[in-house]
Symmetry: C2
Subunit: 139 residues, 2 copies
DNA sequence: GTGTTTGCAAAGCATTTGCACAAGT
DNA sequence: ACTTGTGCAAATGCTTTGCAAACAC
């Protein structure tokens, strides 16, 4: 699957690349580069950060993951490309996805109202997640 | 106005700060650091980038501007804090705002559906703006 | 007058790049 | 075999920091 995808785009299917792709595409945790690096190191201890970056750029250009940039050079990756909401908890840092048909509607509206032809989107809501606000009550 | 805001937060109202704040808060162009730097230099030729960065951090912490981080260390600032859509043109790089009541509804829904308490949000739609797609037709 | 801010230069980080060697097809 | 990819180290570029002189209050 991943091997075919890489080859069809003219890239060689090296073990490192396959592992980076597998890691990035299977995670629902919105991992950052270090997370992926550490995970890949488990099976490829000599892998370099450069390879991680290069492979993630391939995934980006191929439109298989979305890059989410935050303050202070924090970048995370999301393989879930359907229009959805990222709920970013400012307390614990977790990012959870929320599906809602209204997102797709909103994107459609942009074209109708503003003559803007959308290709992708990023919907972030920042706040405090359920677990963190529950935890806060017991302090 | 700006002077009062700075002082009320315990900051001294220096000419450089006032100019940076005025520039960042009055622009609807989603300027980046360099844009603001160049603008401020017109009246304060000796201003340093460090001062720009420090003042923008004050505005961020005070919740008077939102920072929009993109790929490749591209950061832009938005003083418009009402829930709205950023239409980001991938052709010309312009970012235009679009107001729509559905955004506020969407944020509300996050709380109801997922028990997530929102504080701010960022709604980006990436694509091609009206001007650019019109221009493309004449090529 | 006292504590803060400025501007400079240096430091810090995330990310990219150049290159010799290794590996995929 | 030929071409592309890997891993290392160096380079890049944005942002932050330390510090002495200047400034706000």
């Amino acid at each position: 699957m991943i091997i075919q995808a890489l080859r069809s785009k003219g890239y060689k299917a090296t073990p490192q690349r396959i592992t980076v792709c597998k890691t990035a595409l299977s995670s629902r945790e919105h991992p950052n580069v270090q997370n992926i690096y550490r995970e890949v190191k488990k099976t490829h201890p000599t892998v370099s950060l450069a390879t991680i970056y290069k492979t993630l750029n391939i995934l980006k250009e191929s439109g298989l993951v979305q890059e989410l940039n935050f303050s202070q050079g924090q970048t995370r990756f999301d393989p879930y490309l359907e229009p959805h909401i990222n709920m970013v908890c400012l307390q614990c840092g977790k990012i959870q996805d929320l599906d809602d048909p209204a997102v797709k509607e909103l994107v459609k509206k942009v074209y109708v109202k503003a003559n803007f032809a959308p290709t992708t989107q990023r919907i972030d809501v920042y706040g405090v997640c359920g677990q963190c606000s529950k935890a806060a009550k017991f302090k």
